[in-house]
């Protein structure tokens, strides 16, 4: 059964990729990208990488789609372009060579799930055998991400933080005050159905995001996914009620504060563990027992990740969607 699902999904994936190349309508292409993400996420799921699958679904199909659409909105030219009839042999040669090199590179990779391969024999057995005992967290992915490799994750959060800052520097510049259209926002939007359905659905999505945030210890999820889903809820609100309305809910200053707050919480937990006599980001010293300390540490660190991811995703969306068309 798994084999059948894998083969079908991979076929769909390939067909979708060909479709993305062939179709000239950019809206349709973006939607196909979303399908591509859904398919990859489902493939991750069949390979038991549920946390990755959740991230791919939320980021790839959700935020990326919205951001690509926002980019499309910035461009005046929505017309479909006929594909260039000239054959470009040089790019084709480059692509084929690179592809061949990459495929050649994969020959040296260990087989999927090979128990003798390097990653499986180094620290992984320790994580798998000891994670629950040492951290008290049933979801090993969360234990590895937030505790064992906490420093790496801190780096990732800083990367996201930097991305947010960079987008703000490049796109966040001056523009018309969104509060100007405040009066306009009060009018009933054209699509009554979407408005009322969104009203019902948005709080549920927000609560679900918080559920994902705090249950990363037990099931798929955690700060990254929660932050993205939460920002998706706000994005849905801004899609239906207007950008100005959404920016009034969460003003820019608050977003900037949250962006830094998340990183500060993460780094702060590390510093707290230093002061309590442990290594940086060794949560065991945070409470009387090791497991309790780990639990608190992971919870706080995940919260930091969630806050930063949420704030940066929204910052990027506001920066893209708020631009005047040039």
């Amino acid at each position: 059964m798994d084999l059948l699902i894998d083969i079908s999904l991979l076929t769909f994936l390939a067909v979708t990729a060909i479709g993305i190349i062939r179709i000239t309508n950019l809206f349709a292409v973006i939607m196909l990208f979303a399908i591509f993400s859904f398919l990859s996420a489902t493939l991750f799921m069949t390979m038991d990488a549920v946390d990755v699958a959740l991230t791919e679904a939320a980021v790839g199909a959700g935020i990326s789609t919205v951001l690509m659409l926002a980019t499309l909105a910035l461009n005046k030219d929505h017309n479909e372009k006929q594909p260039d009839k000239n054959r470009h042999w040089l790019p084709l040669a480059v692509v084929l060579t690179t592809g061949a090199v990459l495929v050649y590179g994969t020959l040296d990779l260990p087989d999927f799930g090979d128990p003798a391969s390097a990653p499986q024999t180094h620290v992984a057995p320790h994580y798998i055998e000891k994670a629950i005992e040492e951290t008290g967290v049933p979801n090993i992915v969360t234990a590895v991400l937030a505790s064992y490799r906490g420093f790496d994750t801190l780096g990732e959060v800083v990367v996201i933080f930097t991305a947010g800052i960079a987008v703000l520097l490049l796109l966040g510049g001056r523009r018309e005050d969104p509060l100007d259209d405040g009066a306009k926002d009060k009018r009933v939007p054209q699509n009554l159905v979407l408005r009322i359905v969104s009203k019902i659905v948005i709080p549920v999505i927000m609560l679900f995001a918080l559920y994902v945030q705090f249950h990363g210890d037990y099931g798929p999820g955690g700060g990254f996914q929660a932050g993205v889903i939460m920002s998706a809820a706000i994005i849905l609100y801004s899609l239906v009620f207007g950008l100005g309305a959404a920016e009034r809910i969460i003003p820019k200053s608050v977003l900037m504060f949250l962006t830094s707050l998340g990183v500060l919480i993460f780094a702060g937990v590390g510093i707290a563990s230093l002061f309590l006599g442990g290594n940086y980001l060794n949560y065991s010293v945070l409470a009387s027992s090791q497991v309790a300390g780990q639990h608190i540490g992971i919870l706080l660190v995940e919260l930091g990740v969630g806050i930063t991811v949420f704030a940066v995703m929204l910052t990027i969306f506001f920066a893209f969607a708020g631009r005047e068309r040039s």
Binding site: N191, V193, L194, V201
Partner: protein, 106 residues
């Protein structure tokens, strides 16, 4: 046992409805009529399959989550379909008219 049989029936019927609906999006003549096949057979297909799963889950949190998924689809799917049809009409896409529609358009 009865529940098992009922749930299998639901799953198979749901799958069948889904496939026929998907055939519909190829047999119907234009976008608007295809909407009837996509957006809407979706609901019965989802209803039957999720009902089948719910019967398997019994009274548990999993059953609740299945119900929540259904509720979510039940609320959002018609909204998406409606919005799509509305956007299509506003962009000037004219629906194909049937032969028996000749008795006067005002």
């Amino acid at each position: 046992m009865v529940l098992d049989i009922l749930s299998w029936v639901c799953l198979v019927a749901g799958g069948l409805v889904g496939v026929v609906g998907a055939v519909g999006i190829h047999r119907f003549p234009d976008f608007f009529s295809r909407q009837h096949a996509t957006g809407t057979t979706d609901t019965l297909c989802a209803l039957l399959i999720l009902l089948g799963l719910g019967l398997q889950a019994g009274l548990s949190l999993a059953a609740f989550k299945v119900a929540l998924i259904f509720l979510f689809l039940f609320i959002t799917s018609p909204a998406a379909t409606h919005a799509l049809a509305s956007a299509a009409v506003h962009s000037g896409l004219d629906p194909k008219r049937g032969r028996t529609d000749s008795e006067g358009q005002s």
